[in-house]
Symmetry: C2
Subunit: 153 residues, 2 copies
């Protein structure tokens, strides 16, 4: 049970778009540089996000990407579900793939678990995620300042 690089990169990509929300489109190239992820790979990742209506794009010179909605109105469940695609076990989406579904207890648990995962991811918006990031960055800076002061004396 792992989160794929695809989904992790997608979340970071969306976080950058969220931080730049309201300032017009930005280049994938700049996101790739900022997050140190292959631009070509991001180019693949952003296509389904655009397809799902989370991102708007403009082509040509001075093109780029921007969020289609406010950062507070996009949550991680949408992003991860679009990029991971599959569910925990195939028989959830497609009960016909297994003859045991009508009596299978473990399937019930995978459904419960899938629901909890969706619920958890759905409870976090891009806006909140960037808030957490800002807080962590500020804290990290304070700690480093203290360290530098300590090493001086």
């Amino acid at each position: 049970m792992k989160i794929s690089a695809r989904a992790r990169y997608g979340v970071r990509l969306m976080m950058v778009l969220a931080r730049n929300y309201g300032n017009g489109p930005i280049y994938l190239k700049d996101i790739a540089r900022e997050e140190d992820i292959s631009e070509k790979y991001l180019g693949q990742i952003i296509i389904p996000l655009r397809g799902a209506g989370l991102v708007l794009s403009s082509r040509g010179s001075h093109g780029g990407y921007m969020l289609a909605r406010e950062p507070a109105e996009i949550n991680l469940r949408e992003i991860v579900e679009i990029l991971e695609g599959d569910c925990l076990v195939r028989c959830i989406k497609d009960p016909s793939t297994c003859s045991r579904v009508s009596t299978c207890a473990s399937r019930d648990i995978w459904i419960l678990l899938g629901g909890k995962i969706s619920e958890t991811l759905g409870s976090v918006s891009l806006a909140e995620l960037n808030d957490i990031g800002r807080e962590k960055t500020a804290k990290h800076r304070r700690l480093n300042a203290v360290k530098r002061a300590g090493s001086k004396g």
Copy 2:
């Protein structure tokens, strides 16, 4: 994000052991037949479960496996964590693998999500899982009985 066959099979394997708890060891062969899973593959899956102390084994003729604890005292978190092994993202267990950890907000969310998953799986014991199975099976039988009665008239 998928549950591996390894973990799914492991849960079903443990459910069979739980249903036979108190009746001495049972053969992997019989579990394999009952659940329609390769015996050899189950043989690989059960090794770490035994290593973790969830299962006891006896070798030789009339050998077999049995739960080491009561079904109510074994939960799915243990089973799945043993068989899946990895966590959601590598940087949770091993922060040194990524330079971004000190400021990374998405990592915080993966940690949160991992906690929810553990919590959910930890809340279900083998005993409860088999209770669900019994209930589903009974319900399924009642439905089939109704269907048969309906097709008669």
